[in-house]
């Protein structure tokens, strides 16, 4: 048993903290969110220079060969500062497909560029009516005589879909909608012929896109992994990203709790700091307890995606974590806004942005109901 951070981890955490203090305070974030792209290449390059982008990527392609546990500190910091740059879409999703199942040529082309901060990715999975079911893929990839594929279908809510240099797409090469077999994974240039994007803002200040494929032709070298065998790969990668956002939630909750506690100590009403009122004290104690339970579940999820070889056991732990963290996201975000009073509603207050990010995390990659079902399966 060991819960302390390694020296390496502590140094990394310290450099992230310096980056956030110097380059990513709330005012900077506000400007980045308001910009046309909705994310900042400058901050992204700094994250690359700090070694954050290569953290969970293989050492032979410039990464550090770490896993989700090693990334917990980074995700916590991303959560606390509400960083909007595409860390999870690029490092937690897109690059994971390539690292886990890509060909040597795909890895060589994509991974070093990700580590250097020169290439970002997104994962286009969700479709109309699919909700969180990863097997419910209707988009089709028709194999041509020359080995190329022609893609047709529409993907919804692709986070960072507009900004990504490459998009990883799931599409069906065989079978019917919701069949476990017959799903394949491709890496595609979103600017290619036959691909169209419609971008929009998400409630938590990020950007996402709906992506339509209309006879988009991709080469045989776009296929990641074995044809028709993509579902278990998708499940493994999405579990990895789920574990990462569990750790991100830990950071957001830590920030929201600290801000609320500070507010209770300074805000005066009826001649006293409102933190002297027992009705409020017990509520922030419950938020403290939520934070501790979230730390435990995020640790379990990250440990499971790193070391659990049995897919069913891994899914069970990740789902347990996501249920608990979704519940905590909802409770903490609602309570923190309530305890801030009207100030908590203000767009100028960071806590209202934490509310929005927590609201999204609660549902991202499956809400509590979805994961309760998967946990008990």
């Amino acid at each position: 048993m060991k819960f302390d951070r390694t020296e390496e981890q502590q140094q990394l955490a310290a450099s992230i903290d310096r980056f956030i203090q110097r380059d990513y305070d709330f005012a900077v974030r506000t400007k980045i969110v308001a910009s046309a792209d909705g994310w900042g290449r400058e901050g992204w390059k700094t994250m690359a220079a700090l070694g954050l982008l290569g953290l969970p990527l293989p050492a032979e392609f410039g990464g550090f060969g770490g896993g989700a546990v090693d990334s917990m500190g980074v995700m916590e910091a991303i959560g606390a500062a509400l960083i909007v740059e595409p860390y999870v879409p690029t490092v937690g999703l897109g690059a994971q497909f390539v690292a886990r199942a890509g060909t040597a040529a795909q890895k060589e082309r994509i991974l070093p560029a990700v580590v250097e901060g020169d290439l970002t990715l997104a994962f286009a999975q969700s479709e109309m009516d699919a909700r969180y079911d990863l097997a419910r893929v209707a988009a089709r990839a028709a194999k041509q005589a020359d080995g190329a594929y022609v893609l047709d279908g529409e993907k919804r809510m692709v986070v960072h879909g507009e900004g990504a240099d490459l998009v990883v797409v799931s599409a069906r090469t065989a079978g019917e909608v919701a069949d476990a077999k017959g799903i394949s994974v491709f890496v595609v240039d979103p600017r290619a012929d036959g691909v169209s994007l419609r971008g929009y803002r998400t409630i938590d200040g990020l950007r996402a896109a709906d992506i339509a494929f209309d006879g988009a032709r991709v080469g045989a070298d776009a296929l990641i992994g074995n044809e028709g065998d993509g579902l278990s790969l998708i499940e493994a990668v999405v579990d990895f990203a789920t574990a990462l956002i569990c750790a991100e939630a830990l950071g957001v909750i830590g920030y929201a709790n600290d801000a609320t506690l500070e507010y209770l100590k300074t805000r005066k009403q009826f001649g006293a700091p409102i933190g002297t009122f027992q009705a409020l004290q017990h509520r922030v104690v419950d938020l403290f307890i939520e934070h501790e339970q979230v730390r435990s579940m995020a640790s379990l999820a990250c440990g499971a995606v790193d070391t659990e070889v049995d897919a069913a056991a891994r899914k069970r732990v990740v789902s347990a974590a996501k249920v608990r963290i979704a519940d905590a996201c909802r409770r903490v975000s609602q309570e923190c806004v309530q305890l801030h009073g009207a100030m908590g509603m203000s767009d100028d207050m960071k806590v209202s942005h934490a509310f929005r990010r927590l609201t999204v995390i609660a549902q991202q990659f499956g809400d509590a109901d979805y994961h309760l079902e998967r946990f008990a399966r």
């Binding site: 048993m1 390694t6 027992q278 004290q281 104690v285 403290f288 501790e292 435990s296 379990l300």
Partner: protein
């Protein structure tokens, strides 16, 4: 990269756990285990029987100093041992001697007091109970009024204690009493910690029957009870220091993860065997989701408990955050009793078994009683509201 975190026990700790598990499976009497897992109450001689099995093995008081029979285990091993006992269905150990009076004597007792009381606690010769609460002193413990007046080489005690668990079975009681005079600055001053033989003339123990119909708590009346002065622990007027020391000890074991794990498995097995609409109750989504959420909360608390224990390595005293273990642990224990009762359905209305010779009938009839009884857990040992006060003040630094 070096692994940043390891959630598993070390090889040594795993081997230790396996040793404890093997020993328990060989030495825990099946008839005692059966009573525990079936929620049947154990008589005093059954509790003593298990106490003496552990004492003979040398495992009855792991946390005590080795010269008094402690095992020298660190906090993690003590935790593993307790959780394995709970998981195996071993009878609960009565804490008042082993986990409360014992550590107090080790910390504050005179050499004569240690020699007189510790071996008898260790071997199960004396049963202890705790004289803290009074009719007008519950959460506000320091407002207690039972008085002890010094007369030469003894004290004369007058007053009343209440909610005294197991006083009807106990040989001794440790009490907080007021020895100070009126007009002291703070009510915490002038309190002393006295050890009293329950056979002393002037003591009357009367049962308080709880809503489950059971007798576990009592009122204890003191009328001109003569207590030798060498039964005072620590200095006169410094009893509050002793009480605070005890409180820290009391909170560390309250999560009871192993027991809750066993009960959760029992709940799932029970709900899998019961039928709703011709199908196992456990497959009913509405019921199953409640069980799942409880299981997940227990998973989280188990790891939180380990994280806190890890912080105690190197001899750091437990911080106020352990109050959280009491809050969450007892909430989980209560939820287990509630879901068990709910699982039993209409049968849970029985308070005595329809057929007392049928084990299943006896079990079903125990569930609502147990639900009623377990409401105590969030009230005793510092109510969960008091625990929240402690966290608010000492962890979060909120002003009062």
């Amino acid at each position: 990269m070096e692994r940043a975190m390891d959630l598993n026990y070390s090889a040594d700790e795993t081997a230790f756990r396996d040793d404890v598990r093997d020993w328990l499976s060989a030495h825990l009497p099946p008839e005692l285990r059966e009573k525990v897992v079936r929620y049947e109450s154990l008589a005093k001689d059954e509790l003593i029987r298990w106490h003496r099995i552990l004492a003979a093995k040398g495992w009855i008081a792991p946390a005590w100093p080795q010269e008094w029979g402690g095992t020298g285990w660190n906090a993690v091993r003590r935790y593993i041992f307790e959780e394995e006992c709970g998981y195996a269905g071993a009878p609960p150990l009565v804490p008042f001697g082993l986990a409360m009076c014992g550590p107090v004597l080790v910390e504050f007792g005179t050499p004569e007091q240690k020699q007189r009381f510790l071996p008898r606690i260790y071997h199960g010769d004396d049963f202890w109970c705790q004289g803290y609460s009074e009719p007008n002193s519950g959460s506000d413990l320091a407002s207690l009024r039972t008085s002890a007046v010094r007369r030469g080489d003894h004290y004369v005690v007058n007053g009343q204690k209440t909610w005294t668990t197991m006083a009807h079975m106990a040989d001794w009681i440790f009490c907080l009493v007021r020895t100070g005079t009126e007009g002291e600055q703070k009510q915490q001053e002038g309190i002393s910690f006295l050890l009293i033989d329950l056979k002393t003339p002037g003591i009357a123990v009367r049962p308080l029957v709880l809503m489950d119909g059971g007798h576990e708590v009592n009122e204890v009346f003191f009328e001109d009870v003569v207590v030798p002065a060498d039964q005072l622990v620590h200095e006169e007027g410094r009893g509050w220091t002793v009480a605070k020391f005890l409180l820290g000890h009391e909170r560390m074991n309250t999560a009871r993860i192993g027991t809750s794990r066993r009960e959760l498995e029992g709940l799932k097995a029970y709900a899998a065997q019961l039928r709703k609409d011709g199908r196992p109750l456990l497959e009913d989504t509405r019921f199953r989701d409640k069980v799942s959420r409880l299981e997940i909360e227990l998973m989280a608390l188990a790891l939180t408990n380990l994280r806190f224990l890890d912080g105690l390595r190197g001899g750091h005293p437990p911080g106020a955050e352990v109050s959280m273990l009491k809050i969450k642990g007892t909430e989980i224990q209560q939820s287990l009793t509630e879901l068990m009762m709910q699982a039993a359905g209409p049968l849970a209305q029985a308070s005595t078994p329809g057929d007392a010779s049928d084990a299943d009938d006896r079990f079903a009839a125990s569930l609502s009683r147990r639900y009623c009884n377990y409401r105590k857990t969030t009230i005793y040992a510092g109510s969960n509201e008091i625990q929240r006060n402690i966290i608010a003040k000492r962890v979060l630094g909120l002003p009062s």
